[in-house]
Amino acid sequence: MAQTKTATPPTRLDAELARRLLTQMALIRRFEEKAAEMYALGKIGGFLHLYIGQEAVAVGATSTLRPDDYAVSSYREHGHCLAKGSDPRRVMAELFGRVDGLSKGKGGSMHLFDRSVNFLGGHGIVGAHLPLATGAGFAIKYQGGDQAVLCYFGDGAVPEGEFHESMNLAALWRLPVVFICENNRYAMGTAIHRALAQTEIWRFAETYGIPGEAVDGMDVLAVRDVVGRAVERARRDKTPTLVEARTYRFRGHSMRDPAGSVYRTKEEVEREKLRDPIALFGDRALKEGVLTEADIRNVEKAVNDAADEAVAFAEASPEPPPEELFTDVYKD
């Protein structure tokens, strides 16, 4: 399903890499489960879009980056932000609307930003952050840098004009942007075949004359390989790439669509859960002998503790003081 041929050999799994990838995916999973619990308890308000099921995309993609590379995402961005290196405690505090959150509690679940790890935000208007990613790529080239920008979005952004405007500009100007479409097959409740005349999303790359690849988004190593090649192209000769990562969200669109069952069958969801990226990767690591059962238990314990710590930190953090209403409207 790849348009471009594999130039670099696939990742060889070793214990260190396996532990790192598994830990990050498991942390995101556990963090999101905790967030759902906290939402049910009324500790988190507003919209909450969980990343459960899609963890291999953020973790595989980010594993190819340097710290000075950039990432930007939509409103389903907790996983991308955590993968980029943000402190889970500060992310949870943001969801709680507390002053120790990444944005002092003023952004919330859909607007995580972390300058310290070059995470350029969670953006709530579908498609709107693709031009921002393109602009970040423009700035890198303007400044003579060799960083790459990873831009995550869903299949729901593909019909938007800004997807096409951004692909065109990035291709026309040769900007170091890797567009990663996380095709989870539903834009909220609209199945992809009801939204797109061309459902092979990676093929839009052909239109713009840039490399395009589809990848199994439930396979963290496959994502790592495909995105790794794209990042290399971005760094080396400022070639943008469109990656279509085929994935699935196990939960509803948001907490207000808890079952996600109106527009898809229970059987479909159960079938997709058999492709759970964390379970698949754990099994593979065991089978290849790079991790032991004890290693996996240790990972689970570590991420449980980290998620608990994140909640405790968020609970303990004060609400933003009233004067925060007016700070940051303008920079002085």
Binding site: Y70, V72, G101, L102, S103, K104, G105, K106, G107, H111, F113, D114, R115, L120, G121, H123, G124, I125, A128, H129, L130, P131, L132, A133, T134, G135, A136, G137, F138, A139, I140, Y142, Q143, G161, E162, E165, S166, N168, L169, L172, T327, D328, V329, Y330, K331, D332
Partner: protein, 326 residues
């Protein structure tokens, strides 16, 4: 002091700021090879090259978003709207991305961005190319909105806008590009954003007006002077933040106010200024604040109808007389 056109003053401001700061670049439709649809960017491609003067395809949302993204990484983009009528296509990027990024990120990412180009009523360009666009922007916290009326203001305010660390909407006027005026030579000449100016001193009534309406008010004031009515004219120059202090100060002196607005009056800038005046200076008023605004209709093409759409000198004069005789 040099005498130059409003267009030349803008061009000079861009040149000076680009020479001063390598992070400043200009991006938009026809800004380079074509030398600008209205020639504001004339010669810039030649001086600065195509790395910093960037022609875009027609995709206002796309290239405005590129500006916002580039600003997040520390550049200082000047995005040209060929005309501000097209900015509606970029409204989401301006309102939801540029204006709110600093706030949503808790101050981590401010957006030093200028979006500039001509707006306001023009000559027989009909409904889609001839309208006052500032209305769509000054409502939004996080944006600054500038409407410069004179060549000196155009230069001094554009330089301030480019050096500002926030997104600035800078709306020029096609009808003013050829206006000439004195402009200071000093490359550090700047006019702070948020500072109104008294264009004409008077004692009987304060007229608040900017751009074409300000020039029309100046003509009316000369005519009314012959009738013994002394008109003071305040030009806000920046609509957000608004220098209410200067406006209120003038009204406290004259005790009467007439607000002019080229665009349709409903929920317009005139409403805001009138509200500010009655909240801050009600006891100083000798007459209700009057508004003279564009009619609540799209801009017609037919010359005779077009003349009826924007406030005429006769209408302005009548409102001033009415307020002064109250």
């Amino acid at each position: 002091m040099a005498v130059m056109t409003y267009r030349e003053a803008l061009n000079l401001a861009l040149r000076e700021e680009m020479r001063r700061d390598p992070r400043v670049f200009v991006m938009g439709e026809e800004v380079g090879l074509y030398d600008g649809a209205y020639k504001v960017t004339q010669g810039l491609l030649k001086e600065f090259g195509d790395k910093r003067i960037i022609d875009t395809p027609i995709c206002e949302s796309g290239f405005t978003g590129v500006g916002v993204g580039a600003a997040m990484l520390g550049l200082r983009p000047v995005i040209e709207m060929m005309t501000f009528n097209f900015s509606i296509l970029a409204l989401d990027q301006i309102v939801n991305s540029a204006a709110k990024m600093c706030y949503m990120s808790g101050g981590q990412y401010n957006i030093p961005l200028v979006v500039r180009g001509p707006g306001g009523p023009a000559a027989q360009l009909a409904a889609q190319h001839s309208q006052s666009m500032e209305t769509y922007f000054y409502h939004v916290p996080g944006l600054k909105v500038v409407r410069p009326s004179t060549p000196a203001d155009a230069k001094g305010l554009l330089k301030s806008a480019i050096r500002d660390d926030n997104p600035v909407i800078f709306i020029e006027a096609e009808t003013l590009y050829a206006v000439k005026g004195e402009v200071p030579d000093d490359p550090e000449f700047m006019i702070p954003l948020g500072q109104a100016v008294v264009r004409r001193e008077g004692t009987d009534v304060t007229v608040i007006a900017y751009m074409g309406m300000m020039y029309r008010a100046l003509e009316v004031a000369e005519e009314l002077a012959k009738e013994g009515i002394s008109v003071e004219i305040v030009d806000p120059r920046t609509l957000r933040p608004m220098d209410t202090e200067t406006i209120i100060g003038s009204v406290r002196k004259t005790h009467r106010a007439v607000v002019l607005e080229a665009g349709a009056g409903f929920a317009g800038m005139g409403s805001e200024i009138a509200a500010e005046i009655q909240e801050e200076a009600f006891d100083d008023l000798d007459a209700p604040v009057a508004r003279v605004t564009g009619e609540n209709a799209p801009m017609p093409y037919a010359k005779n109808l077009e003349l009826l759409k924007t406030p005429s000198k006769a209408k302005i004069a009548a409102a001033i007389r009415r307020v002064c005789n109250a």
